[in-house]
């Protein structure tokens, strides 16, 4: 196992820049997820690490060896693709043994490695079966096994769970996390599924339009997003963005909205200009439906029951704001309600750049939600 590092890597396809000056360091034994919407450049990033794409500038390192110009087959990096590409006419044993045979491994050694890998993945009882006779989850494990069997320096996984049913995906998510914890592989995992990116890895690299937006632990990305892009990519339903303006009269910073205002105590000064547009970010679980006359007036227009909780779609000052509530407390569509926000979980973004200016929950801001500014 080894570390892998991209340094200022740019990849272009004709006039399209797929990766733009990307730097990312994955430590030895670390599990990093690369998260982004379709077209963000995630797969290009994996293909660049494995050597299937060549950067126009920048370098790729495995440990401290510069492998930018090394042939893919000589990099000792394994990749598992979304479509598993198992050999349908060969049994599980031969599928697993294939990379070792290619590498001219002695027969006894092949047998030992295949058996070990199959045991770790709980497919040792299936070695004689052909892929067509396996369940979806079993096939997934065989493909993973084939990538692992040579004990590569780095293991790359490209949306490995996206073809699976929801239930199987839940199972494999836990399974993969457990495997990684037990085996300490260096793992780079590409996904567009924020739940996978939140729940499994040590760190998440958020990729948007070919640019790394943020690299941090899942929790930091969730609670301290550096910009609106990152804030929107993690969390479901996504964070609400409410256009507001700054008011700094009397030496007090307020974020003003026609229906409410938020007082912000902060030492941050950059980007906070009296009268400037800004965006208040609040996650659906931090939107509270309150009783009495406190809070901003809103109307319920759709409710989405999810079983354990209900998404309430509210009209607040001409825009839709989603709130997450326990089912028993969900109001009826058409009802008029009052809403407030958990002041410990708010974010203010710059309206033009989308960069986070102040976030609650950290050291840089204390927020207080105030009564509607017109009352």
């Amino acid at each position: 196992m080894a570390s892998v590092r991209l340094e200022n890597v740019t990849v272009r396809f004709g006039s399209v820049t797929a990766l733009d000056d990307v730097s990312l360091a994955v430590e030895d034994g670390e599990f990093v997820a690369v998260l982004g919407p379709p077209g963000a450049g995630k797969t290009t990033l994996l293909r660049t690490i494995v050597g299937l794409e060549k950067p126009v500038s920048g370098s790729v390192f495995a440990d401290d060896e510069n492998i930018t110009d090394v042939y893919p087959g000589d990099r000792d990096i394994a990749i598992m693709f979304q479509n598993l590409a198992l050999y349908p006419d060969r049994n599980v044993y031969d599928n697993l043994a294939f990379p070792l045979k290619q590498a001219k491994t002695p027969k006894a050694e092949i047998k030992r490695r295949v058996t070990d890998t199959a045991t770790v993945l709980h497919i040792d009882h299936l070695l004689k079966r052909k892929p067509g006779k396996l369940s979806g989850g079993e096939r997934q494990r065989v493909a993973l096994g084939r990538a692992m069997v040579r004990d590569p320096r780095v293991l790359l996984l490209d949306e490995p769970l996206s073809a699976l049913d929801a239930l199987l995906r839940l199972e494999m998510r836990v399974e993969l996390k457990r495997l990684q914890r037990d085996l300490h592989r260096t793992l780079v995992y590409v996904t567009h599924d924020q739940v996978e990116a939140m729940s499994m890895p040590d760190r998440v690299a958020v990729l948007g339009s070919g640019v790394i937006q943020q690299v941090d632990t899942p929790e930091t990305v969730y609670h301290r997003p550096v910009n609106q892009f990152t804030a929107r990519v993690v969390g479901s339903p996504p964070m609400n963005f409410i256009p507001c303006t700054f008011d700094t009269s009397n030496g007090v910073v307020r974020v003003l909205h026609p229906e409410f205002s938020v007082r912000v105590q902060t030492t941050v000064a950059a980007g906070i200009v009296d009268g400037a547009s800004c965006v208040l970010g609040v996650r659906p679980e931090d939107v509270q439906i309150v009783s009495g006359s406190a809070g901003a007036a809103a109307n319920v227009f759709v409710t989405e029951p999810l079983g354990g909780e209900t998404v309430v779609d509210l009209h607040l000052g001409g825009q839709v704001v989603k709130a997450l509530t326990p089912p028993a407390q969900a109001p009826q569509p058409g009802a008029g309600v009052r809403v407030s926000f958990d002041p410990r979980r708010l974010h203010v973004f710059d309206a033009a750049s989308g960069a986070a200016l102040v976030s609650a929950g950290g050291a840089d801001g204390v927020f207080e939600v105030e009564r509607p500014s017109n009352s």
């Binding site: 919407p37 379709p38 996390k177 990519v233 969390g235 989405e304 079983g307 998404v311």
Partner: protein, 346 residues
């Protein structure tokens, strides 16, 4: 608009596989019904029989009491949206949306076509991009165009086959509420095929859960979640899977079920963590793994050799290896017969 009635519908494929087995289902006029199940459960085959792309082996389909089983697809006034948005990439958004009207007979006047396109564009939020080439749209907007193309011919019934599965999570969450709103506005009967229980739960008035070609339960999202008919439905619905334990483990002798072997089911959010020796704890377990999801954690435990999940709050997170007590909300626990898998009254 129409009510759909499926009567003893069966589809057997030439190889012998019974994809849909004696399905009875009434989809009321103007309602939003989801067909939910894992791949291979028969939901898409059912959809294809409603649209006319597949012929049933036996059984009958009625639209508003008219048997339509032998009608060709084109005569059924059914609109489709598929997973891979079938749009013409060499045409503008307007040309794509208006296509169905332009080929219909009699063809509406240009001003009528323009009015209808405008109406649909407003509903879908495509007003600003009508002149754009469809190939220049984002994946998300392409799917809206595909939806608009089906809507414009005003079909009696709308069939959607996993239309959002190619879209990113944030847009999916947005389109969920949008589609629900659109359905309320246009009032058409909508049948929505999905393997994603979140989509089915959040949008549909009624959900038909299928497995192995058979209808498992037909009910509101609430009924499915809180009163599942059998163990399959209980395990399939809910984003963190229901926990199942041998009933005797939790209820002692009471779980023996008079000679029947029973399984107890309880949802992860209906179990609280406590100290391992707490008096109110029903069982004890050991923390195996924690999945942080942002707003909440899923805590995986080992309970007497069984995998078990609890929903936790990130602020009060135990550590891997900790011993914990489990407090069950006994009003929310369910019992299933191991032989029939059906829910039984505790």
């Amino acid at each position: 608009m129409a009510e759909i009635h499926l009567q003893h519908l069966t589809k057997q494929f030439p190889g012998g596989l019974i994809a849909v087995n004696d399905l009875d289902l009434v989809i009321p006029d103007g309602s939003f019904v989801a067909l939910l199940g894992p791949s291979g459960c028969g939901k898409t085959t059912t959809m294809n029989m409603i649209s006319g792309l597949e012929k049933p082996t036996s059984g009958e389909i009625y639209f508003d009491e008219q048997p339509i089983t032998r009608l060709p697809p084109g005569a059924r006034t059914v609109g489709f949206v598929f997973q891979n948005y079938a749009i013409f990439t060499h045409m503008s958004v307007t040309e794509n949306i208006s296509f169905g009207l332009r080929v219909s007979k009699p063809r509406p006047s240009e001003s009528e076509i323009e009015r209808r396109v405008g109406e649909i564009a407003d509903i879908l939020g495509l007003r600003g991009m009508l002149d754009r080439n469809a190939s220049r749209l984002s994946v998300n907007d392409m799917q809206k165009v595909a939806l608009g193309r089906s809507m414009i011919v005003n079909p009696a019934i709308f069939l959607l086959d996993e239309p959002f599965s190619n879209l990113d999570a944030a847009f999916r969450a947005y389109m969920r509420a949008e589609l629900k709103r659109i359905q309320h506005e246009v009032g058409q009967t909508m049948v929505y095929v999905t393997h994603d229980q979140v989509e089915a739960m959040s949008m549909a008035d009624h959900i038909a859960v299928m497995d192995a070609g058979r209808l498992q339960q037909y009910g509101t999202p609430d009924e499915l979640y809180n009163a599942p008919a059998n163990r399959f439905v209980a395990g399939f619905v809910g984003s963190t899977q229901m926990n199942f334990l041998p009933a005797t483990l939790v209820l002692g002798e009471h779980g023996a079920g008079n000679g029947r072997s029973l399984t107890l089911g309880i949802r992860p959010e209906n179990v609280q963590l406590a100290a391992p020796d707490a008096a109110e704890a029903t069982l004890a377990g050991k923390v195996n793994l924690i999945e942080p999801l942002g707003a909440k954690d899923v805590i995986h435990l080992d309970v007497a050799g069984h995998g078990f999940r609890v929903v936790g709050t990130p602020g009060k997170r135990p550590r891997v290896g900790d011993n914990v007590g489990l407090v069950f909300d006994s009003a929310r626990q369910l019992l299933f017969d191991d032989e029939t898998t059906l829910a039984v009254d505790g």
